[in-house]
Amino acid sequence: MISNSEKQEAQVKASPDQQAPLLEIDHVTRRFERKPDFAAKLAARLGAPINRRTVHAVDDASFAIHQREVVGLVGESGCGKSTLGRIVAGIDDPTEGRILYRGQDVAHASGEATRKFHLKIQMIFQDPLDSLNPRYRIGKSVSEAARYHKVVPEEQMAEHIEKVLLQCGVDPTTQNRFPHQFSGGQRQRIGIARALALRPDLVVCDEAVASLDVSIQAQIINLFMDLRDEYDLAYLFVSHDIGVVRHISDRVVVMYLGRIVEQGTTAELFAKPNHPYTQALLSEVPSLKRRHSSFHTIKGEIPSPLKPPSGCHFHPRCPHAMERCKLERPMLKAVASGHMSACHLNDEG
């Protein structure tokens, strides 16, 4: 079976370089623009200045995911982490920038190669009840894409689906049931089985354990780790739950208002968070060890992405903000090996 997937990889292979990252996100920007409504069009006709409302959901983001690596993508709601996750999964396209799969630019690939790339990157959603067709028996949901793309020959399909379900902890004899007949944890396992049936290299998990109970969450996280060992899977783990990200990730990328503010290995980032936002975010993660605490909360909320603050987006909430932070956007710079942060404080002596 592994040889089979290797064969498939050979077909899509572009760069013979084994060291090339599995997936590279290269200066990706995603803008959402509101189309002018009738009144705005009329006003524009009459010579009024055009007032375009643009949201920079993702602003010049770059990072890489290697084979077998788990990358955690964290940030508050509205920071663009889900948009970036969707771009990585190929559901959404970047406005600017490139996505490189094994060194090959996805946007300029042929139809066949693009299809292969999409198959190799699968996504698991937060609520499997929303992402599973309620009128399909789960066996059909899980096998549909695998059958269409002929991942295995038709005569082996039943066996393949059975194996995948079993591996995800779903009883294969329940294949004829509908999604509503399963519990939340079981449904999430079905969502995972559906992604896995296509034999992906990379799985994008968008808040995949957020809606589960603690005991079920532990089961699913363990399942993710087992599957990684079994299939050499890489994960992009998009989550607001920093405790879970810390547990599961090799590397962590922190986003704030569309921009990556810090990235590094999990151990390094949690031991020595560099960016003031990361520091604040980490200090507010509740933990069993912290009891009866009085919080030192960071003030305010994430600003509207329609009107992001100038310079460093974090400066209105930052305790160390300087004049420069209001004017100039800090770039990501290495602060240690493999650890990058976008903060002007690093330039000060």
Partner: protein
């Protein structure tokens, strides 16, 4: 504000043997069974459990918000010593929103999307005190908004719910709950949908307000880490019953019930990234197919033959109780 003519008690709220059932085709099934709970003024108590544990039904039962086919079938709900099961619907209505209030996970359950914030807030005051001066009521609303950390409260009174962010909406819901200075607030997962930074802010506000005003707070959640930060005492619920109760530190450091221990162990620890998490096998049984005896026994790693007998909540020390035939040895630390 209504004058309280009934006898005062030591507790803001006391539940004695609360049972809530849901009537179905196959007879009544109990979602909450024999729950005893007591909370003093100013105390913050955590009610912890997974989905299906009955924690939310307990909260709704206290507020008298259980609808058919559900009903509170047994027990006493004493708010300041007054049994809410015996009072008239009118009296209950006047207590609700005045002496006790509830905050939900989704603030849009509390807020009317087509009414301005000031309309909704002033209504919460005039409903309990019809003769109050409108300006006085309005000022109280503004102060309440300011207190929960909403900037420009005067201006924000004119806003509609959709003009607030999720965190701000939850603050408005908290401000409304606090308006009449209630004796008891039941908060059902109020920060679950919010970011950690906003969660931290809201927890800090609630802690401060309850301390200042002597409001008793029941925080219903599945998240033990939040409970660890916020509460003084904790009740752990499983399959409709309280399985363990006690002071927060004792319960977290020395859980007596295997379920509590499992819950604590399944939370990713800071010191051991990448390791396999402890997992409780199986899942909470459905309400109509509860196992015999100890309801946790099919998932329990320490199960023994006598676990098939019914087991009551038993006191193990002055402040602690556990519902288990073979509680974990005291002193055995959670790794």
């Amino acid at each position: 504000m209504t004058t309280n003519m009934t006898s005062r008690s030591d507790y803001a709220l006391e539940l004695r043997g609360l049972e809530t059932v849901f009537d179905g085709d196959k007879g009544a099934v109990a979602a909450v069974r024999n729950v005893n709970l007591a909370i003093k003024p100013g105390e913050i108590v955590g009610l912890v459990g997974e989905s299906g544990s009955g924690k939310s039904v307990t909260g709704l039962s206290i507020m008298g918000l259980i609808d058919r086919p559900g009903r509170v079938s047994k027990g006493e709900i004493l708010l300041n010593g007054e049994d809410l099961r015996k009072v008239s619907a009118k009296r209950l209505r006047s207590l609700r929103g005045d002496r006790m209030a509830m905050i939900f996970q989704d603030p849009m359950m509390t807020l009317n999307p087509v009414l301005r914030i000031d309309t909704q807030m002033i209504e919460a005051i005039t409903a309990h005190d019809p003769r109050i001066d409108k300006t006085v009521a309005r000022n109280r609303c503004r102060d309440a908004l300011g207190m929960v950390g909403i900037p420009d409260p005067e201006e924000r009174l004119y806003a509609y719910p959709h003009q607030f962010s999720g965190g701000m909406r939850q603050r408005v819901a908290i401000a409304i709950a606090m308006l009449n200075n209630p004796d008891l607030i039941i908060a059902d997962e109020p920060t679950t949908a919010l970011d950690v930074t906003i969660q931290a802010q809201i927890i800090a506000e609630m802690q401060k307000l309850c301390k200042e005003r002597g409001t008793a707070l029941i925080w219903i959640t599945h998240d033990l880490t939040v409970v660890a930060e916020l509460t003084q005492r904790v009740y752990v619920m499983y399959a409709g019953s309280v399985v363990e109760e006690g002071p927060l530190d004792d319960v977290l450091d020395n859980p007596l019930h295997p379920y509590t221990q499992g819950l604590i162990r399944s939370i990713p620890a800071d010191n051991d990234p990448g390791s396999r998490l402890f997992q409780i096998p199986g899942m909470t049984p459905p309400i109509d197919r509860m196992p015999k005896g100890c309801r946790f026994h099919p998932r329990c790693p320490y199960v023994q033959l006598d676990c098939l007998n019914d087991i009551e909540l038993t006191q193990t020390s002055a402040a602690r109780s556990v519902r288990c035939a073979h509680p974990i040895n005291q002193g055995e630390q959670v790794s």
